[in-house]
């Protein structure tokens, strides 16, 4: 493998590389067109043979896409348009000049290189290390960067026990949310009775707003595959499955292609690389049920049954898929494995916090300037992620809460912003690591409404098997809805807490056990908001429509009529013209009076409280109470 990597390196020589991010975020902001324009421009300029234009996986800073990076220097261009293509090639690639308008700016300073952009500076990329460097559809690219050398190393120099020992010593814990020590899981599965064993990769990323695993599968499928093959060798499995939701068509295609390439090169199949280990991987596509991310539900789904969980007192490492010992790990966990083998357990264990080693990928979304994909060492604080990497809250608004761990995570308030991101620490503040969702909320978010939103998701995604999760989540949603509508009493709040308690403590699987987190954490940290809705019939953040009213201050209104023009239900009336007060002033000063307007008014009976008038008023005359 090493020789192959070196020969590939020699072949590629030292051509400049222009990488265009073809991740989902950048593609939706137009990187397909930028990619095509770069290729066309290279032809037209006669540079096609001298440079390489590469469509890569997600670079991470989705907010500023489409992103283009010119290597070897690593010049970072943001929001690139197809018409910029020729200029980038001519200036940056040919003569080393910069296209200044496309550079990243921070505090009035332009930043040239990718690694100097504050978003990337504090990150430590292990699982995402090759995103942005390699073409996901090319196994040669992966091998050139050292790929599959870890596999060759374990097959010929390690016993399965040594592999397990290395993973155990690294301190790697499951990235899917549970945080179970990976090495221990593998060890139990290896020791479990049975000839036939399975390994599974859980790619059923179901959290709204999360795209960590998707980005890894789409950007670097071979890292996941290499990790799984190493795992299969350690455990003694001959068959593996990658479970991906069908809503990720690009991930499915990329993985399919990668599996074909790996089979062609003898990295999968009988006697891998001439060793005695035989193993193959099939893709199982899921129907997109959130509960199928739960390991036993996922296995039921692979078997062709309805995806619903079972009690896990008998662990899946003893009796999992088709009642055989099965090791299931998340995409990100698998992607970490080859790097741990390559660089050693000690190196990996030196990164992170006491109980959580290595790094974690988060999808940072919501009210934060730099939304995107970040990979940070464990133990970094939430504040560092949100402010240093995320760039803080847009529009100088106040931070209110961050929700970690997906829909069933808790909302963490400002007073806990210095909590280190770590499996155990996040639990202490009423949330969880989960698979890595991170949603930032500002002062404009109503925490009752936020809890209502997540419970709406969870009541729908509960499989419905056990009473507390099925009935309890539905009832919690109904009560939250009542609170948002201003129709709830203090007794409803007590009932909400009672139901949250029973759902948390008596549900069958982790979906149910964690579903009340959004409710419990918002009641814990934002009880005053609940009480404002219940006692004062007031929504402090001005979100819950039943509890807010819009009015126009006639003293401030400049009679421009924009509110009336934009109002979707035509409930604002008035007359465009000069404000009466101004007209009077002008008249007194002997100036022309002109057309006198009439301050605009909102008909409260007709108003649907959409807030458009509030948003469009240029002088802030529309008041929300």
């Amino acid at each position: 493998m090493q020789e192959l990597a070196e020969s590939l390196k020699r072949d590629s020589g030292s051509k400049p590389v222009v990488s265009v991010c073809r991740g989902t975020g950048c593609t939706s902001s137009g990187s397909r067109e930028v990619h095509a324009a770069l290729q066309k421009a290279a032809e037209e300029l006669g540079m096609a043979d001298e440079i390489e234009i590469k469509g890569t996986g997600c670079h991470g800073l989705c907010e500023l896409g489409p992103l283009v990076v010119v290597r070897p220097r690593g010049v970072f261009y943001k929001r690139v348009k197809p018409e910029d293509a020729a200029e980038i090639l001519q200036k940056t690639v040919k003569s080393g000049e910069l296209v200044e308008r496309l550079l990243y700016e921070a505090g009035g300073q332009q930043v040239v290189c990718e690694h100097d952009v504050p978003f990337y500076k504090k990150q430590h990329r292990i699982a995402l290390r090759l995103n942005g460097l390699i073409d996901p559809m090319s196994i040669e690219d992966y091998i050139r960067e050292g790929g599959y050398q870890s596999l060759a190393k374990v097959l010929f120099h390690y016993s399965p026990e040594q592999v397990i020992d290395e993973i155990k010593r690294s301190g790697l814990r499951g990235r899917g949310g549970g945080g179970f020590p990976t090495g221990r899981k593998w060890e139990s599965c290896r020791k479990a009775d049975g000839e036939v064993k399975y390994v599974i990769c859980n790619g059923d990323e179901g959290d709204p707003g999360a795209f960590m695993d998707r980005s890894i599968m789409e950007a670097n499928p071979h890292a996941v595959i290499e990790g799984i093959i190493i795992g299969s060798y350690a455990i003694g499995a001959e068959q593996g499955y990658i479970y991906v939701r069908a809503e990720y068509p690009l991930a499915v295609r990329t993985l399919q292609k990668a599996l074909e390439q790996a089979r062609e090169m003898g990295l999968l199949g009988k006697d891998i690389l001439g060793s005695e280990h035989s193993f193959d991987i099939a893709i199982a596509r899921g129907g997109g049920a959130f509960v199928c991310g739960e390991s036993t539900a996922l296995m039921a789904s692979v078997e062709g049954h309805v995806g619903e969980p079972r009690a896990k007192h008998i662990h899946t490492v003893e009796s999992g898929l088709w009642e055989k010992p099965t090791t299931l790990n998340n995409v990100e966990t698998w992607a970490n494995v080859p790097v741990i083998i390559e660089r050693g357990a000690d190196w990996f264990a030196s990164i992170g916090s006491e109980g959580s080693k290595g790094t974690k990928v988060f999808s940072l979304v919501g009210k934060v300037k730099n939304t995107g994909l970040v990979e940070v060492p464990m133990g970094i604080t939430l504040r560092e992620i949100i402010y240093d990497i995320g760039g803080g809250i847009p529009g100088d608004k106040a931070f209110k809460a961050v929700q970690t761990g997906g829909p069933s995570g808790g909302c963490i308030p400002a007073e806990h912003l210095d909590t280190p991101v770590d499996f155990d620490e996040l639990k202490k503040v009423g949330s969880m690591m989960g698979s890595g969702g991170m949603i930032v909320m500002d002062e404009d978010s109503c925490m009752v409404d936020v809890a209502r939103y997540f419970l709406d998701f969870l009541r729908d995604e509960s499989c419905g098997k056990c009473t507390p999760c099925r009935e309890g989540n539905q009832r919690m949603f109904e009560i939250l809805d009542k609170i948002c509508a201003g129709k709830a009493t203090q007794a409803d709040l007590e009932l909400l807490e009672d139901i949250a308690d029973v759902v948390k403590n008596t549900s069958l699987c982790q979906l149910g056990k964690t579903a009340p987190n959004p409710v419990l954490s918002t009641i814990k940290y934002f009880r005053h908001e609940y009480e404002a809705h219940i006692k004062d019939k007031r929504c402090p953040a001005g979100v819950c429509r039943a509890l807010i009213a819009f009015s126009i201050d006639p003293q401030v209104c400049i009679c421009c009529g924009r509110c009336a023009k934009e109002c979707p239900v035509q409930c604002i009336s008035g007359k465009k013209g000069k404000p009466p007060a101004k007209a009077k002033e002008d008249e007194a000063a002997g100036k022309k009076k002109g057309k006198v307007g009439e301050p605009f008014k909102i008909d409260e009976q007709q108003c649907v409280k959409c807030g458009t008038c509030f948003d469009v008023c240029p002088v802030g005359a529309v008041k929300r109470t």
Partner: protein, 261 residues
């Protein structure tokens, strides 16, 4: 098989390793309320009424006893602690709000001290989604006529597309195991209907008494399963019982004659 020792409500008990805790309690005369447990079927863990409080060393937690395999010595189990009662009542409250029309659910709730619910009693049918009917139809009968449909609060038990099932044999096992009276068998004029699925079956008359006793499909299904042994099917259970009684009487008579001599 290894034996494990534990205490349930202070009473020392032993059982085979990996026995389900609920079975162990029931075998020792300790009653635990359930809706989704049936001795003929594997435990499913849906109703969450068989909760117990388990203490093991410094750990203490509430668990559904039906799916908890007893593996370690020294467990202390409380089947009616304050915490258990609290959670059990809350789950019962949720089920009662779902099935206010089920007499069985009402009675069970009353026994637990749940008369009222704080959430509206707006459930439309009597199904608690215990899964017994689905499991008996799939696993014991082997017909697979009904299944769970939908998820979350829209989950229900139904036939494919809500239409009368083609594979239903009309055996009525689903109604037999239903703990809440949601599924019932109705018979009239030589016809059997499985309610609420709307599956209708023609009944076969008993050759002796003429009473409809089995559906055509059920008879065919049994004949196929039994093969050569099908002859044991003949006639309705009442007539078969009478015939058997007459045979037995003859045996007794033949036995008692010599003894008198």
């Amino acid at each position: 098989m290894a034996t494990v020792n534990l205490t349930i409500d202070g009473k020392p008990v032993s059982c085979e390793k990996d026995s389900m805790l609920l079975d162990v309690a029931l075998a020792n005369g300790i009653k635990i309320p359930t809706l989704c447990h049936h001795q003929a079927l594997p435990d499913y863990g849906a109703c969450r009424l068989c909760l117990v409080e388990i203490t093991q060393g410094r750990w203490n937690w509430v668990e559904a006893s039906c799916t908890y395999p007893v593996r370690d010595d020294g467990l202390k189990v409380e089947t009616n602690s304050e915490q258990v009662q609290r959670y059990r009542r809350l789950n019962m409250e949720l089920l009662l709000a779902r099935c206010p029309d089920s007499e069985q659910v009402r009675r069970m709730a009353r026994e637990m001290g749940v008369e009222q619910t704080r959430v509206p009693q707006d459930g439309k049918d009597r199904c608690v989604l215990c899964g017994l009917c689905v499991n008996v139809c799939h696993d014991l009968v082997g017909a697979g006529a009904i299944s769970f449909v939908g998820r979350g609060s829209r989950r229900r038990v139904d036939t494919p597309y809500g239409e009368p099932s083609e594979v239903c044999i009309g055996c009525g096992a689903c109604a037999e195991v239903c703990p809440t009276g949601h599924i019932v068998v109705r018979e009239s004029e030589g016809e059997r209907e499985i309610v609420p699925f709307g599956t209708k079956h023609k009944l076969v008359a008993c050759p002796e008494c003429g009473r409809g006793y089995v559906t055509e499909k059920q008879l065919a299904f049994l004949e196929q399963k039994l093969g050569e042994k099908s002859e044991i099917l003949g006639g309705c259970p009442v007539c078969k019982g009478r015939r058997r009684a007459e045979e037995l009487q003859k045996v007794y008579e033949s036995l008692s004659t010599p003894r008198r001599n």
